[in-house]
Amino acid sequence: SLLLLLVSNLLLWQSVTPLPVCPGGAVRCQVTLRDLFDRAVVLSHYIHNLSSEMFSEFDKRYTQGRGFISKALNSCHTSSLATPEDKEQAQQISQKDFLSLIVSILRSWNEPLYHLVTEVRGMQEAPEAILSKAIEIEEQSKRLLEGMELILSQVHPETRENAVYSVWSGLPSLQMADEESRLFAYYNLLHCLRRDSHKIDNYLKLLKCRIVHDNNC
């Protein structure tokens, strides 16, 4: 798992261009918005890839053929957030709201990811591939959140600290004794993670073209 972590880190570093670090609290930052967005898009793409892989591995190993997909209601904890569900809606939402929304989604995933890592680690015969990916996703999500907050402060400096995020209360279901229920809980969580990472990736690409390239990517 360490090897996988190293390899995935290497892959990330290959794709991520080094970003000059802005001193904390600096009003004028040397880093351009374009660079910030480029990096954010790379991160979100990477996170989505990891989530997809993690989900398919989990499905293949534990829940294949159980028909969970049909049971998977749209019951992700982030559903309470008013996210655009198609292109028109996404175009109608304002830039500022859009950025805040992305930040909210990322914040909402902090705790579930943390618990996911803990629970998977504590599993009997913890699947190394899944665990390593979960750890990596948690790590990169934090970085993406930081990047997004930075972008938000640059694009809309007047925005106050956005405290809106969805609370996740699925921890008890992850720890249930009944294996079927527990597996379904994991399935749902990973499915939601994949979906939300795809959302964030899409939103960021939209925003990047809108803000940096003026709708002309």
Binding site: A72, A90, K205, C209
Partner: protein, 615 residues
Amino acid sequence: MDLWQLLLTLALAGSSDAFSGRENSSKKPKFTKCRSPELETFSCHWTDAVHHGLKNPGPIQLFYTRRNAQEGTQEWKECPDYVSAGENSCYFNSSFTSIWIPYCIKLTSNGGTVDEKCFSVNQIVQPDPPIALNWTLLNISLTGVHADIQVRWEAPPNADIQKGWMVLEYELQYKEVNETQWKMMDPILSTSVPLYSLRVDKEYEVRVRSKQRKSENYGEFSEVLYVKLPQMSQFTCEEDFYFPWLLIIIFGISGLTVMLFVFLFSKQQRIKMLILPPVPVPKIKGIDPDLLKEGKLEEVNTILAIHDSCKPEFHSDDSWVEFIELDIEDPDEKTEGSDTDRLLSSDHEKSHSNLGVKDGDSGRTSCYEPDMLETDFNASDIHDGTSQVVQPQRLKGEADLLCLDQKNQNNSPYHDACPAIHQPSVIQAEKNKPQPLLTDGAESTHQAAHIQLSNPSSLANIDFYAQVSDITPAGSVVLSPGQKNKAGVSQCDMHPEVSLCQANFIMDNAYFCEADAKKCIPVAPHIKVESHTEPSFNQEDIYITTESLTTTSGRPGTAEHVPGSEMPVPDYTSIHIVQSPQGLILNATALPLPDKEFLSSCGYVSTDQLNKIMP
């Protein structure tokens, strides 16, 4: 007959199935594919039911539901558009499409669900093929045989690239017209790519397909683009260079064969020497090992003299010389020849002795350093007198000393006189190397006066050479204990045996005259080594070690234990004065003065005699 009946039944059953298949279509409609080309709409397709039967089961319907928890209960709604996507399809336009919300669709026929499927729209993205493929010529090679082109295309129009809603990845494939296998290139994000090294005389086909970056499914291939390159010249040169492996192999083999035959059939040694030179045997330059074996010292000395710029003045009737040529009548030793031989030959028994001189073919000659010899030639007369014969052995002994020293870095403590291998002595000897051992100035010197006592290989053998091991603070030389007995018995064991010798013969004296030695030889019992552990002068200690000497001198009390005339005397004493080539006066500090028997019959001072002389 039973078997025939069985076969008949089976045949009937098979035919009946075939009949029923034709008549009664049991083939259900199934979803084949659901696809969203641009992440804004999607459509689903299914196979048509095969109706061969008389009754028509009824239209097939598709119902869908959006599994959205916020919407409450899930209602099944019918497909909004059965037409736009073709036959047996359902098209969902953008108002019905939500991207990240799970959909479930089901196919019904006669009210009964035939097939069901659930998915999210973002998972079924398959972009349309790129359009407007074209190519431009980049350049043509100088030979006019190869050319490079740039292929360009455009993204499918319905994919919203500009707003960033979709990010596409492309894969290009190309091949020659008459080939069957397509060559694939790596996925790229841009909409143009160069193709290198296409042959001018061939026609190529190119096609491109796209997929969304995150998903796994490629869209359909674009239309095939035909590339026909302009031919500059009429002739087509064969530029390809085929490495003539066959020719090389043939020529190589034949060449090797020729060489082999030449070598094998060539009787000339020279060629053989050239091809397979013999491995040189390690030896001293200029010295023939056979020469040494023969024991011709004069020649050996001349040769050594050539090496070391020493004047061969050693052809003297030195008693030392005679000494060396002592022939000890020992059945074991006789076969080995003279002392010289023993000293100079590769004697394995002397392996552990510093003075074990070995022949050039042993590994020890690698330790042989000509530099060593030069220092030894700084000696005085006595040195010269003694060294002539001593030299070859000593040199080799030094060599061995050095070798052993290198090997035995960790020296054992000095307590044991006899069992102690003279490594410390070796070290000491080395340190004192440059200084001439014997000078007229009564300055005790070190090495040159290695009155080396070759350790007898057995009890019968007697060592005549002592080795200098140390210099006492007074400046006198301390000789090291002798080597171990080849037979494993320390030379200390010689004491008792020696004591059996006659009275006027100094028992433990290491320096024996010829005649005396002969007498002593046969009476040689073995003695245990245990007694050797005592640091003070012991009966069994033939050799005075450095430590023993110092302790002795420091403790006058124990000096009484210094062997007197009756006690066995160590063979090695420190040399005090060198008076003549033929005499040594041993140090008086450590040994008691002997009485009158100063001079032995042999003409030099023996240890015991000196012991009586000295205080």
